[in-house]
């Protein structure tokens, strides 16, 4: 479904990604792991058009998306969450989730003014879907709160609710459990499993190895901007290259 083909990204001559290639298959949960600074967030930013790759191709359902503006990529069905939250602090929790549906409710002002009854009906439908998403992530009671005052864990879940409400074809999750306690992590892990069993395709960037090994179908390992391994969680667990990347280059220093 998503095909990363020899992606490179340089920042002022410094390579952050070099020749990274892998596929994300439909209906599966692919995890992207690697030590800090391996280039995981850079790659996610390239996929969503926040950054422009220096070279290579990114194809989504055989359409080239590298270099497209962010909002277009979002509109073809790729939703994401952020490592450092990007919510709308001044909007209510419900409105935050509704923004995830603006692609579907996108009318011009003229249309909004003319087709009132039809519009009202549809806005109600969108609201029901947003409430259902809030319900999935246990945020129903806080629907009218300004999102800015939510606790950290709630903000993380709000981003998940916003990203999933439009039923995206591909969901990119950038460290969804970073900073959460073990209880909250388990809850989010449970949510992700549910999303996968309902057919969502996901690319998960995560440092929490227990979570990754528990829920991923396949794992891609980045180290210093290179893709060093692709495989099932069991293969990755025993891969010497991966162990080396995580535990340090023992031979080199010895």
């Amino acid at each position: 479904m998503l095909n990363i083909d020899k992606i490179s990204k340089n920042f002022g001559g410094l390579p952050a990604l070099s020749d990274v290639s892998f596929d994300v298959q439909k209906g599966r949960l692919t995890a992207l792991i690697g030590p800090n600074g391996a280039g995981k967030s850079t790659l996610i930013n390239c996929i969503t058009g926040v950054l422009m790759p220096s070279a290579g191709h990114i194809r989504f359902e055989n359409t080239e998306i590298a270099g497209q503006p962010t909002h277009k990529i979002s509109r073809i069905g790729i939703a994401r969450t952020f490592q450092n939250l990007k919510i709308f602090p001044r909007l209510s929790v419900l409105d935050n989730v509704l923004t995830g549906l603006t692609c579907e409710g996108g009318d011009s002002m003229l249309m909004a003014m003319m087709r009132l009854p039809y519009l009202r009906h549809r806005e109600r439908q969108l609201k029901l879907r947003a409430m259902a998403a809030l319900d999935r992530f246990q945020l129903t009671g806080k629907a009218s709160w300004p999102a800015g005052i939510l606790a950290y864990g709630d903000k993380k879940r709000l981003e998940l609710a916003r990203a999933t409400v439009g039923n995206p074809q591909l969901l990119l999750l950038d460290e969804p459990v970073a900073g959460l306690n073990s209880e909250e992590t388990a809850a989010v892990g449970h949510q992700l499993k549910q999303l996968r069993s309902s057919g969502h395709t996901m690319l998960l960037v995560e440092h929490d190895m227990d979570l990754v090994m528990d829920i991923a179908d396949s794992v891609v390992v980045l180290d210093s901007g290179r893709c060093i391994a692709v495989g099932t969680p069991d293969e990755i667990r025993t891969n010497p290259l991966v162990l080396e990347a995580y535990l340090g280059r023992i031979e080199a220093t010895a």
Partner: protein, 287 residues
């Protein structure tokens, strides 16, 4: 005494409503693009001019003329955003602000070319016979100003809180990066914000020029006062713009009435400065 006071009150609220409309226009563009749009001042002049032409060149009645003038300014505003600002492809706010200064001068020049430099008179929306309210005599045009300002505010509120495009615009104002990520097209939001700013400025022009007079640069001073009102209320805040506009109008008319009309601008702006010294974010501004 009381009668005088009520008279000043009405005069202040009338001007204040106009400042509020202009201030709202400044705020809409500021919230979606983060810039001060100086073309706003010329939207006011253009509104009056289009109304003049709708009435005397096309021979339209008042209400269709008013709607046509407002729609015309909104359209011009959209053209200015699409072909004047967007080709700059710059995110540098200073560059964009100076572009609006340049575009403002160009638009003023075009207005001067089309309608000339002479002062013109625009008739009020209904015949000019003052009505007595609480012992004060009030022009019907002032009542029109109150009514149409209220309608404009109601429409804006409905648009921002009840439609998905309005939600998109609030989202962009709150966090532009996040807005792009959820698929909100920045271009359409900018275009809409300009259309709204144009409509608000145009409405202000149609309403105020029968009281002042109509000339190609009538909007400049009014627009700057609207800008001051927006800052007074807290730049970017809609309730602040309304409050700031009415506040500035009242300050002006009360200082003109009780101190001296020669110093009304001085007194008004002095109070404005004092407020900003105490509360730099304005009356309703965010901390």
């Amino acid at each position: 005494m009381l009668q005088d006071f009520i008279q000043y009150l009405f005069a202040g609220l009338t001007n204040g409503a106009i400042y509020a409309l202009i201030a709202l226009g400044f705020c809409v563009v500021n919230n979606t693009m983060g810039i001060v749009n100086f073309v706003q001042v010329d939207f006011v002049s253009l509104g009056g001019m289009l109304m003049f032409s709708a009435l005397f060149a096309l021979g339209l009645p008042m209400i269709p003329g008013l709607l046509l003038a407002i729609a015309g300014v909104a359209l011009v505003a959209m053209v200015i955003e699409r072909f004047g600002l967007r080709p700059a492809r710059s995110d540098n706010h200073l560059v964009l602000i100076f572009l609006t200064v340049g575009l403002s001068i160009i638009l003023r020049g075009v207005i001067k070319l089309v309608w000339g430099k002479n002062r013109m008179a625009l008739p009020p929306l209904t015949p000019d016979k003052p009505v007595e309210i609480l012992g004060a005599s009030v022009l019907p045009q002032a009542l029109w100003i109150f009514l149409l300002t209220l309608i404009a505010i109601a429409l804006l509120t409905w648009f921002f809180y009840r439609t998905s495009l309005g939600l998109s615009m609030r989202a962009v104002a709150s966090n532009p990066t996040a807005a792009a990520v959820v698929g909100i097209p920045a271009g359409r939001v900018r275009l809409t914000s300009y259309a709204i700013a144009g409509a608000l400025g145009g409405l202000a022009g149609v309403l105020v020029t029968p009281i002042t007079t109509l000339s190609y640069d009538v909007g400049v001073l009014l627009g700057l006062k609207g800008f001051a009102a927006a800052i007074f209320g807290g730049f970017g805040s809609f309730p602040g713009a309304i409050l700031g506009g009415l506040g500035l109008g009242l300050l002006e008319s009360l200082s003109a009435g009780y101190i001296s009309s020669a110093y009304k601008d001085v007194v008004a702006f002095l109070v404005l400065l004092l407020v900003l010294f105490v509360r730099p974010t304005g009356l309703m501004g965010k901390e």
